[in-house]
């Protein structure tokens, strides 16, 4: 029994406190405030909306853990979506077959990974600040997408894409399933693999990591490559959800993904943070926006409340830290 509890504690870590508390607070508040909140409709909408933001947040998470940022994720996702769209259109548009979709997905992930490789190489070899490198990559990728599409959108995809965006398997939405699989992959990567361990090492202290024999350059390149590839997965899901691709879809998610990471207890300087608390934070954000929607507010108010929530969690964390210092002095 005790070992099981310890296992769970180990799985969640101390970071769960913030998002966990927020989850309970949000659930309590909305179940009292709105009678329709505790219904399958709410959770259905959360389940369908979660993956887009969630996958992008996963893409943001790895660079944040190394003490960086990847500001290019949303436009990389758009570019990956465009890649799929072009492959489908080149193979007959609405009549395109499954094979061309799979080919499109592979190419899309390759495109996403390619942007990541370039960023990773620049960051690892010149030690330029990741914010700056990914920012210029973001401007470049956005420009490339706008140049190739002339700012328009591409739509008209085969019917078999419909289930990927809107279908359910055994009652669970397919996008959510894909998202959960990605969450598990990231969790295993960060807790079980050498790459994950080295990611944390680099985030804590990159020089110490290098002196202890970690190939920091290789790890950084891999981290940004994986981040780019995950953005591409998000782009494919967005294509299936909206049934169209346009550069700028999901643009407003960019800073929300950073917010979700911080809300999930990830250290802004890197080195500390887990996948599961970030997942809980994402659920909290979506519940908040669905709950506010039910009460008649729009997405903009939800955005403001997300900001307030982040500050509230940060202030609570500060109080907790003060309290700990106080107790230690007393004892």
């Amino acid at each position: 029994m005790n070992t099981a509890v310890n296992r769970i504690k180990e799985l969640l870590g101390p970071e769960i406190a913030g998002p966990g508390l927020a989850f309970v607070a949000v659930m309590l508040f909305f179940s009292l405030a709105s009678p329709q909140f505790l219904s399958s409709a709410t959770f259905g909408s959360v389940a369908f909306q979660l993956p887009e933001l969630g996958l992008l947040t996963l893409a943001m998470l790895l660079p944040v853990l190394t003490g960086g940022l990847n500001l290019a994720i949303t436009f990389t996702a758009n570019l990956a979506g465009l890649t799929v769209a072009w492959v489908l259109q080149a193979n007959g548009g609405v009549d395109a077959g499954m094979a061309s979709f799979i080919l499109g997905c592979i190419l899309a992930i390759a495109v996403g990974a390619a942007t990541g490789v370039v960023m990773g190489l620049v960051i690892a070899y010149t030690r330029a600040h990741p914010i700056l490198v990914s920012l210029s990559m973001m401007i470049f990728v956005r420009g490339l997408g706008e140049f190739l599409t002339r700012g328009g959108d591409i739509s008209g995809f085969p019917a078999f894409l419909q289930p990927i965006g809107h279908g359910s398997l055994a009652g669970i939405p397919i996008p959510l399933l894909i998202f959960i699989v990605c969450v598990l992959v990231w969790h295993v990567l960060l807790t079980r693999l050498k790459l994950g361990f080295n990611t944390y090492m680099i985030g804590s202290n990159i020089d110490a990591a290098r002196y202890s024999g970690v190939n920091t350059r290789k790890v950084l390149v891999l981290v940004y490559t994986l981040s780019g590839a995950m953005s591409a997965v998000a782009g494919i899901i967005m294509l299936a959800r909206f049934n169209s691709v346009r550069v700028g879809h999901g643009e407003s998610y960019l800073l929300i993904t950073v917010l979700a990471c911080f809300l999930g207890g990830v250290n802004p300087f890197g080195g500390f943070g887990r996948v599961i608390p970030v997942f809980v934070a994402l659920v909290v954000l979506q519940l908040l926006s669905s709950g506010l929607n039910l009460m008649g507010a729009n997405q903009h108010l939800a955005t403001a409340v997300w900001g307030i929530l982040l500050i509230a969690v940060m202030i609570l964390r500060w109080f907790a830290a003060q309290l700990m210092i106080f107790n230690r002095r007393k004892g």
Binding site: I131, V133, G307
Partner: protein
Amino acid sequence: MRKLVQSHATEFALLAVIAAICVVLSLATDSFFSLGNAFDLLNTSSVNIIFAVGLLVVLIAGGIDISFAVAASVVQYVTALILGYIGGGGWISGLLIAGSLGILLGAFNAFLIHRFRIISIVATIATFNIYFGLLMFFTQGVSIYDLPDWLTDRVVLFEHEMADGTWAEITLPVLVMVICVVATWLFITRTTTGRQLYAFGDNPEGARRFGINIGAMQFIAFGWLGMMAGIAGLIQAHYAQEVVPNALYGRELDVLAAVVLGGARLGGGKGSVLGCVLGVLLIAITQNGLNLLGVSPFAFKMIVGAIILIAITLSNTSIEKLLPFMRGARR
């Protein structure tokens, strides 16, 4: 001379690049090298330069601010409402209102950062969402076109008729921009507080032990940026002759890229007003030149992004590697 070049390496590199681009563009197009075009460039980049010198102060103090562009939108909107309420006003009252509102919003950031020890990027991403969400929620995205006459009337400070009969004009935004640039330059290089900002940005703990008031530094840096953002917001409303709530959304990252291109360091303690102005101008000149060359506007961002990416890569790859003869001189 050599000393001057070495101590201002970034500024001279930027100047050299700008000069090279100007020479190429003057030869390639007949309209680039003209007074009219130069004045146009100044008129259009005024707002960005005002933002940039404000952001520079925060970067020097070791912080980062994501929220200033949407803060400027908030200031714009509220100022327009206040001006409508008091019925008219003038440039003096307009700038005072906008500046004070900006300082207020900046001080809120500083309060969160200093009082609760929230890292500046976390705090300002949160306030970014709060400011923008609340602005869009309360305004419902409605623009204001009914502005006082003094605000929308173009003020021409200097004009000169060109040989072909068109007028080259310098308008009010340029004057405001010059005042802001000179004020910031005086502030950070010629006052004790300004030098303390550099010390604080370079080493906060050292600055604290030296007797510098840390809290005051945060409030001064973010207050200065807030004031500049407020002024820039009003000038942008003057330039566009309308107040659109999401007009400045997304501007923060463009300005950040330009400022860091100009040699400011993310992490604090480094940066100059000249470099920051040159950074904005480099991007503006590139866009202007591409326009005159007849390149599709959709390709602008792509090329600008690529240029910034290359510039960062080169500026971080140590100059010694590229120019071996400098190595001896540096030691």
